[in-house]
């Protein structure tokens, strides 16, 4: 490795120290929380304009906000720009958004420490940062105007990009004051508005900035990148997880018109061509033999059976695998008078199945340095993984960030899997030639990184009033964080979040919650709402069954438990949803209602779903939602996220199920992996709880609630509980 470093030093002209730092990072020494942003931006260009890294103002007064986050549908373009525009008092119609470049120092997520989007933090981590940026820029304009007009700065007002002094009748646009304002030093702690003074935030004026581009075909995604000399690559991937190339015959592939090269890379064999179709034809003609000696032997059915055995305390655990406690209080095993409820729940592997399959454009070895043109959810991670392959400084890897056709967690990958694959190919092609890696739907599904298959086992003893007295909870699921740069010291809470810390457990005198995290050769990853995708279902569906046992109304039963737990935000959203849904009035004929409440990513969502059973299958009609997400920046986009999140969760409730057999992905396209379609999509009403708390997550909290709400409605209709998802098995 050192030899490489020295060659690299010669090529890049980097100093020895920079390279030592860079190599330490490249070799995985990244520790989140110890200020990696400085180290990771070694080699990066860092000039910023007069108004800082987030704001550019043009001579005509138009404002551009730089978005350090990805825009993959969740509306960062609108929300982040609105925060700046509010404090700057800009003219919202003249604010546009550009993607920021990759730069860990300038654009780190303030909650993660490096540049990246995840955990529904785009707005929460930017809230104070962008308010300050906007307010500082505003102060520069008022300062410039005060000096120019020789009036007290305190008397100056700003509205819609116009700076005014009423007494003297003077006014000027941002453009006219631009030069003078640029000379003013921005205040360190600019004065921020109070909520009462907001004129944009929280109004229906905060709408998407990208709807035109996305309604005309002009929006640019990775799949759409055009460049001089661009080559397209497709890769023949292993048929099973863990299989490796043992040999290949490319004679026929090379005969396909348009194919320019066939290259072996660590993840398979790449066919590089002048067009997508030629690359695909080349791959069809390619013969690859695979070494399957280290391939994953298990499939979904065996894994599920093993998990159930382990949770039931049967069968020996593999070496080094042990139960870890996530919540404990009192003696949950002690006997008692009350009724006992026991259940197991099973959840399958899930593919993210983003509408745009994964893809990437990379250039390595040319005059322009190492460049990615890609929708990057974790620019810092992608820089790091790219640098490791291209042997350069992470900070010097340039990323032009594009719109993503969805992610739902898929693009935030510790290995940067599809990016890394593209960089390997681009490195072999060399000379800075742009290479676009195209994954077909089948490649995308076969790559794995699924929501882990998960098993829950519960035993709940009730007290004489029918409330939980003792709660024993076992969860078996793969860890998402083990072995990653973000691996936590204690348990990986992403596996149990939503059960851990649940108000229902808080309200229960004795709790014994444990998780088992086995390792498998099937790669797993966060999937919109992560642990809550299964914990919310288990907790909320269990609670409804307990309420029935106790002979209590599901809403009243929950309110009583939330009271005991002091969960005031849960109470508020549940009451709001119940009121808006008319819970105390009878449902329409043939309809039953189900309720669920869940906190995730700092926000609490209650939903009441109206369900009709049609041909034995639940048809979801109206869904009334109430959300407490702190300060609402864009009510319309919060509603959009709740609508979309509900559909994503409902898809998993009704249909989504990835099946693995002997380490091979069985379902590779939408014909065998059905997802929610228009005719099944509910009509979601979203009610936002008024709040002046800082904003909390919105992209994910809408997803986990619908499943249990629907299962609870089905329970009310049929008396049957749901112990396995999806409800409709293909």
């Amino acid at each position: 490795m050192n030899a490489h470093v020295d060659q690299d030093a010669a090529r890049t002209g980097a100093t020895r120290r920079e390279l030592v730092v860079g190599t330490a990072l490249v070799s995985g020494a990244l520790l989140v929380g110890c200020g990696p942003a400085d180290l990771l931006s070694v080699g990066a260009k860092t000039e910023v304009g007069a108004f800082g890294p987030f704001i550019r103002i043009a001579a005509d007064g138009a404002v551009t906000v730089f978005n350090k986050h990805i825009e993959f549908g969740q509306g960062t373009h609108a929300g982040l720009a609105a925060i700046v525009a509010e404090e700057l008092d800009a003219d919202w119609s003249r604010v546009s958004v550009e993607q920021a470049p990759a730069n860990a120092k300038l654009y780190a997520n303030t909650l993660i420490g490096v540049q990246g989007t995840g955990g529904s933090t785009a707005i929460p981590n930017s809230w104070m940062q962008l308010r300050k940026a906007g307010a500082a820029a505003r102060a520069m304009f008022t300062g410039a105007a005060a000096a120019a007009w020789k009036v007290p700065e305190a008397e100056i007002t700003v509205k819609d990009g116009v700076v005014s002094h009423t007494a003297s009748g003077k006014s000027a646009g941002f453009g006219e004051l631009l030069e003078a304002a640029s000379e003013i030093a921005p205040p360190e702690e600019p004065k921020l508005k109070s909520h009462a003074d907001f004129t944009l935030i929280g109004t229906d004026r905060v709408r998407r900035k990208d709807s035109r581009a996305k309604s005309t075909g002009e929006a640019r995604y990775t799949q759409d990148v055009k460049m001089e000399g661009l080559l397209t690559a497709v890769v023949a991937h292993a048929p099973r997880f863990g299989a490796k190339v043992s040999g290949f015959d490319d004679a026929e592939a090379r005969k396909v018109a348009g194919v320019v090269d066939v290259i072996e890379i660590p993840t398979g064999v790449a066919v590089v061509a002048r067009s997508t179709w030629a690359a695909l034809q080349g791959r069809n003609a390619l013969k690859v033999t695979w070494d399957e000696s280290k391939a994953e032997p298990l499939g979904s059915a065996e894994i599920e059976a093993k998990y159930a055995e382990w949770a039931a305390g049967k069968g020996a655990l593999p070496d080094k695998l042990k139960w870890e406690t996530f919540e404990t209080r009192g003696d949950a095993a002690a006997g008692g008078e009350g009724e006992v409820f026991e259940a197991t729940y099973d959840f399958p592997f899930l593919a993210h199945a983003t509408m745009e399959p994964m893809n990437c454009v990379a250039q390595v070895g040319g005059q322009g340095g190492t460049r990615l043109t890609v929708a990057s959810q974790s620019p810092t991670m992608d820089q790091l993984n790219t640098a490791r392959i291209a042997m350069t400084l992470p900070g010097s890897v340039q990323i032009e960030n594009l719109f993503a056709g969805g992610s739902f967690g898929r693009r935030a990958n510790f290995q940067s899997d599809f990016v890394a694959e593209c960089v390997h190919i681009a490195k072999k092609v060399g000379k800075g030639t742009p290479v676009k890696l195209v994954w077909t739907r089948e490649d995308d599904m076969m790559a794995g990184y699924f929501r882990p298959l998960t098993h829950h086992r519960l035993k709940v003893r009730l007290d004489k009033d029918g409330f939980p007295a003792a709660w024993t909870h076992r969860v078996v699921t793969q860890s998402l964080m083990k072995g990653s740069p973000m691996a936590p010291k204690g348990i990986d809470s992403s596996t149990v979040e939503g059960a851990m810390g649940s108000p229902y457990l808080k309200a229960t005198p004795a709790v014994d919650g444990q998780v088992l995290m086995p390792e498998l050769g099937i790669p797993v990853l966060w999937w919109r709402a992560v642990g809550s995708t299964h914990t919310a279902f288990v907790m909320e569906h269990t609670i409804d069954q307990l309420a029935r046992k106790a002979g209590k109304d599901p809403v009243a039963y929950r309110l009583a438990l939330f009271e005991k737990a002091g969960a005031s935000r849960h109470i508020a959203v549940l009451k709001l949803a119940a009121e808006k849904a008319g819970w105390d009035k009878p449902a329409p004929a043939g309809v039953t209602r189900g309720v669920a409440v869940h906190e995730s990513f700092g926000s609490v969502v209650a939903q009441i779903a109206e369900v009709r059973i049609v041909d034995g299958v639940p048809k979801v009609g109206r869904v009334v939602s109430a959300i407490d997400c702190g300060t609402a920046i864009s009510p319309d986009q919060i509603a959009a996220q709740v609508e979309g999140g509900t559909c994503y969760g409902l898809s998993a409730t009704l249909h989504d199920e990835m099946v693995v057999k002997a380490g091979a992905v069985e379902r590779q396209n939408f014909d065998t992996y059905p997802v929610l379609r228009n005719s099944e999509a509910p009509t979601v009403e979203t009610h936002i709880l008024p709040s002046t708390n800082p904003p909390s997550g919105v992209g994910e909290p809408g997803t986990p609630v619908i499943g249990p709400a629907v299962a609870n409605a089905v329970l009310a209709a049929t008396g049957k509980a749901t112990f396995r998802l999806p409800m409709i098995r293909a």
Binding site: S211, A257, S275, T354, M355, A640, Y648, V675
Partner: protein
């Protein structure tokens, strides 16, 4: 082998082999990247274009089958079609990747049915997947565009 196609009212000569799906010809040769690849097997609708006004999945249509047929893509709508305007007014798109296909299906629906019922909308739109789950706004925008066109 050169094939002559009529795309968005213009004659275009393409070099692609006759079995090449229209989608890849549009994207890689004609430079029209508004139509998207989502599945390649006619399941998702992201690649939907109009062939003589009818919605077709361009990923599954070889160019050789298209002689004499007028192709319209999202780019051919010009950005001012009532369906596009309704889409923008209601902020239908999230990630946006499915939306060209959704819009083309909706345009075809409304061209043949100025006042679609909910069942008509379901039937016309069920071939278009939206993983972001913008379905509710898609339905609302279709109703709004229909009302606008009737007014």
């Amino acid at each position: 082998m050169a094939t002559s196609l009529e795309i968005n009212g213009r004659r275009v000569q393409v070099e692609a082999a006759p079995d090449t799906p229209l989608l890849w010809v549009l994207r890689d040769e004609a430079g029209l990247t508004g139509s998207k690849y989502g599945c390649g097997v006619g399941q998702c609708g992201a690649c939907t274009v109009l062939a003589d006004g009818a919605p077709v999945r361009s990923c599954s249509l070889p160019v050789s089958a298209l002689a004499g047929i007028k192709i319209t893509t999202i780019e051919g709508l010009g950005g001012t079609h009532p369906v596009q305007e309704a889409w923008m007014r209601l902020d239908v798109p999230q990630c946006g990747y499915c939306q060209s296909g959704q819009i083309m299906s909706a345009v075809a629906l409304l061209a043949g049915n100025a006042n679609p019922t909910d069942a008509d909308i379901d039937a016309a739109m069920d071939g278009n997947i939206c993983r972001c789950g913008a379905y509710q706004r898609i339905r609302a925008a279709i109703r709004e565009a229909a009302a606008q066109s009737r007014a």
